[in-house]
Structure formats: structure tokens, C-alpha cells
């Protein structure tokens, strides 16, 4: 299964992994990105993700399509949350399965690195004394 989802609801890791892997797959690799409690020395209370929804979905589908074509992975699920994400909660889940592990590692790494470069989603960190848009440029 190849599927991309943008959702406001919490990510159900277990359900997403349950579908991964055919009998021909020797490897499943799952990456979970989570909201961290500290950023640049300050305590983060929560995150908010803003999304340009139709374009973000298109860009995600492009990335996943490229990964599937290039590394011949069998199964590729990407779920990205938007709206408020509490500390410790997953903001993104990428699950890939493939006959051999190298393809899964390459594909997952490519997907997360490219998501952070091209998918129109923006993260804002909320502190006790203010809020700041995160720039990944640094």
C-alpha cells in the first residue's frame, strides 16, 4: 500500500504499522518525528503546524512516488499531522517495507529529508513567554 495522509488527529502508530510488509518483505522501517520539549535552550509547551493542504498533499505524493520508484519499496505510508501537537506526540510517521533493508533505509531517509525541504508545512513553537516560527534554514 502506498498512502499519504494529512490529518489533525493523533497518529495511530500501531494501526499504521499493522498494514506494513508483505510476505516477500524482509524489512520494515518506521520513522516517527515527535514534538520535543526543548528548543534552543527554552522549554517548548506545544507545537502548531500550519499546512497548505492541497499543495502539501501533492508534494508528499511526489516524494513518496519518487521513493517507491527509486528503491522499489513495497509499502510506503506517510502521515503528517497539523494543528496543535503536544510534547512527545508524533508529528510525522513514515513506514516503509521492502524485500531488503537497504532500500527501506534509503527510502525513509530520503522521504523525511525531502519532506523537511519541500512540503509546505510550517511549525511554530510555543513557549511560556511567546511563540516563534521554526526556521529549518539554520
Amino acid at each position: 500500500m502506498v498512502k499519504v495522509t494529512l490529518q489533525k488527529e493523533a497518529i495511530n502508530t500501531q494501526a499504521a504499522l499493522a498494514g506494513a510488509g508483505t510476505d516477500a518483505d524482509g524489512a520494515i522501517l518506521a520513522f516517527i518525528g515527535r514534538a520535543r520539549n526543548f528548543s534552543q535552550g527554552r522549554e517548548v509547551l506545544r507545537l502548531e503546524y500550519e499546512v497548505y493542504e492541497p499543495m502539501a498533499k501533492k508534494e508528499l505524493e511526489k516524494i513518496v512516488g519518487e521513493a517507491v520508484a527509486r528503491w522499489k519499496v513495497t509499502h510506503c505510508i506517510v502521515i503528517h499531522r497539523y494543528g496543535t501537537v503536544g510534547i512527545g506526540e508524533p508529528s510525522i510517521l513514515i513506514a516503509v517495507s521492502s524485500p531488503h533493508r537497504d532500500a527501506a533505509f534509503q527510502a525513509v531517509r530520503y522521504i523525511i529529508d525531502t519532506v523537511k525541504k519541500t512540503v509546505p508545512i510550517w511549525k511554530k513553537e510555543f513557549f511560556a513567554d511567546g511563540e516563534v516560527w521554526v526556521s529549518e534554514r539554520s
Binding site: 500550519e50 497548505y52 492541497p54 523525511i112 519541500t118 509546505p120 510550517w122 511549525k123 511554530k124 529549518e136
Partner: protein
């Protein structure tokens, strides 16, 4: 001609809108539009050189000529994941 302009994240805060109609002269490019925006919304100036532009939900070069009905989005570098 009329385009729909969308702004996101810090760009939306700088412009004070997320979604509006915008009249542009026939023949204008994406670059012309961004110049016009930066002049109208000085809050955009600090992020001017980093701004990304999408036309009809695809990333666009500044040289692209606008067409009536285009949906143009301006936003800062993305930070999802």
C-alpha cells in the same frame, strides 16, 4: 486580470491576510507580484529573499508569467516533519 493570493505562516502574519483577490496588470510575472507585495506589506521585507512562491500548487520560478485566475501562494521556507 485577477489572481487569488494566499499567504502562509510568517508571511501570512506579515501581510495580515491568508487569502485575498489581487488585481495585477496583464503580462506581469511572479517576480513582479512579489515586488508589489513587498512594497505593500513592509513586514515581508525581512523574509523577502527567502520567500517561496507556488502557482496553482506547484513551486514556481519568478520569471513565470501570471494568468487570470491563477492561485499564487507566498510562504517562508517550510519546516514540517
Amino acid at each position: 486580470m485577477t489572481i487569488t493570493l494566499k499567504a502562509f505562516a510568517a508571511a501570512a502574519e506579515a501581510c495580515g491576510f491568508r487569502d485575498r483577490e489581487f488585481d495585477v496588470p496583464e503580462g506581469d510575472t511572479v517576480g513582479d507580484l512579489v515586488d508589489l507585495l513587498a512594497a505593500s506589506y513592509p513586514g515581508l521585507l525581512p523574509m523577502r529573499t527567502d520567500l517561496l512562491i507556488a502557482v496553482n500548487e506547484e513551486y514556481s520560478e519568478t520569471g513565470r508569467r501570471l494568468a487570470d485566475g491563477d492561485v499564487v501562494a507566498v510562504f517562508p521556507p517550510v519546516s514540517g516533519g
